[in-house]
């Protein structure tokens, strides 16, 4: 493509990009002890190709220019794999689309003139640290309680040295796609962490390396989940529907099986 054609292409693209003006109602909270409340902001000239977080960057630059405190929000990789971004947008975790994180949500999912309400994840076990940032270390403590394999696995084994059926490997991999973002807790009416714990338990229970601690893992991770104050599972399916990785409710059934059979048969009295 010649330079002239390229510039024409860009110019045309710039003309056709739709710019949006939006009203944002954002939860602002100074710290854990602050009561917090909503503040309304106007953002203008937002490109529909921007991600939701980039729209927040624009707003924050504006706030910084005015000498105001920018809105604090969690983010890291911005490509949907780290699990940091955590915005509850218009009544749904990660916004109106399915199987994506907030960073993968683009402004073309909204219309010019929309009012968008943005809240932090709400759960007693996820206290708000500041604005839209919540403390999700409850998840870390659940992992510390048993979400690991304690055997020395040595160097990389030869392919197919440990035979694992493809379907089982796929199931384990599907569970392992959990990024621990907490959308399941945010979506659940009981703020239950069942889908998260179920994914972590499933991923290891399905593979040979996870067998050694299989029973104690299920027992300890559930005990920690309860100790953190998460709610119980009502099988509404909201967690799975809002999970950016689409983790299935079958993992929750597996967690129930793993837990009950572990409780009935483990050596831990």
């Amino acid at each position: 493509m010649s330079d002239e054609l390229f510039f024409q292409f860009i110019a045309k693209k710039l003309i056709t990009i739709k710019k949006m003006n939006l009203t944002l109602k954002v939860w602002r909270q100074k710290n854990v002890n602050d009561k917090g409340g909503f503040q309304t902001y106007q953002v203008s000239d937002i490109s529909e190709d921007m991600s939701f977080l980039e729209m927040f960057d624009v707003l924050n630059e504006d706030l910084a220019r005015k000498g105001e405190d920018p809105i604090h929000f969690d983010h890291d990789c911005r490509e949907g794999i780290c699990g940091m971004c955590s915005m509850y947008i218009n009544g749904r975790p990660h916004g109106p689309k399915q199987k994506i994180t907030t960073c993968q949500l683009h402004m073309r999912s909204f219309k010019d003139g929309d009012t968008i309400t943005v809240e932090p994840w709400r759960a007693g076990a996820f206290p708000v640290i500041k604005d839209l940032v919540v403390d999700r270390s409850a998840f870390d403590r659940i992992i510390q309680a048993g979400g690991y394999v304690n055997v020395n696995t040595g160097g990389t084994p030869d392919a197919n040295e440990i035979p694992i059926p493809k379907t089982v490997a796929d199931e384990a991999m599907d569970a392992a796609t959990c990024i621990g973002c907490g959308a399941c807790v945010a979506a659940c009416k009981n703020a239950s962490a069942m889908l998260f714990v179920a994914a972590k338990v499933s991923q290891l229970a399905l593979l040979p390396q996870g067998q050694v601690e299989r029973k104690t893992r299920a027992e300890n991770m559930v005990a920690q989940m309860d100790a953190e104050g998460f709610g119980a599972c009502t099988n509404t399916g909201a967690c799975s529907a809002e999970c950016p990785k689409g983790i299935s409710l079958t993992t929750i059934a597996r967690l129930n099986r793993e837990y009950f059979s572990a409780k009935a048969s483990s050596e831990n009295v």
Binding site: A123, G124, K189, L249, N256, F260
Partner: protein, 230 residues
């Protein structure tokens, strides 16, 4: 805490009790609806078979055992639902200002507590009308071949000749249908029984059960009411 207490004080254990008691109550509903189908044919012999059935249900020792299991299931189901609901409310002390829950879950699944409360209120009224009257009320007596049998059929006819009472039953059976439409399949999921071979069938059977059983129950007062008119 012993492993046994640990299990049943965990959220999963409490849900296991909800599931087990719920499934038992589903079995109870099958027996209850099947037996009471006799109401549709009771007028022919002026309720004799129905009354003899009622006598059997209140005196047979095996039925007695089942009835105590049913009472325990109802109390357990109610007690643990209260315990779980309290915990679940505490798990989210600050709620959302905007919620779009209908985008990710069914209304019935989110309102089992509300539906269950109405079913419980209905149960109290229902038990007062028939169960209490049958056991301790002053019921007229029929003499069948020298045997004195309480005439429950007269009580049933009197109760269902009131339009508001029939309306209450129909309304409550609709709520029961919603409660069952989630509860049936949810009970299996809680037991850990989710399999691509069987879960679609469980869901279909559950939906059919949730429609057919409350519908049959609702037809009984309607039938008796229409009968009372003419």
């Amino acid at each position: 805490m012993s492993w046994f207490n640990q299990t049943f004080s965990s959220t999963l254990g409490k849900k296991l009790i909800m599931s087990a008691t719920g499934l038992f109550l589903i079995l109870f509903l099958i027996g209850h609806v099947a037996g009471n189908l006799q109401i549709f044919f009771a007028e022919a012999d002026n309720g004799r078979l129905f009354n003899e059935y009622a006598l059997f249900m209140t005196t047979n020792p095996a039925v007695k055992v089942l009835s105590y299991l049913t009472y325990i299931s109802i109390l357990g189901h109610v007690f643990y639902s209260i315990a779980l609901t309290q915990r679940n409310k505490k798990a989210r002390p600050v709620g959302y200002s905007v919620e779009n829950a209908s985008a990710n879950s069914a209304w019935t699944s989110r309102n089992m507590g509300v539906l269950g409360t109405f079913v419980l209120i209905f149960l109290v009224i229902h038990l007062k009308s028939f169960w209490y009257e049958m056991h301790w009320g002053g019921i007229p007596v029929q003499n069948y071949d020298g045997q004195e049998v309480k005439d429950l059929y007269v009580i049933v006819k009197a109760a269902f000749s009131q339009l508001w009472y029939v309306g209450l039953y129909v309304f409550c059976m609709i709520l029961l249908a919603f409660h069952l439409s989630h509860g049936f399949q949810s009970a299996f999921q809680t037991l850990g029984l989710n399999h691509k071979k069987y879960t679609p069938l469980i869901k279909k059977v559950g939906m059919a059960f949730a429609i057919i059983v409350p519908l049959l129950f609702a037809l009984m007062p309607i039938y008796v009411y229409i009968q009372s008119l003419g």
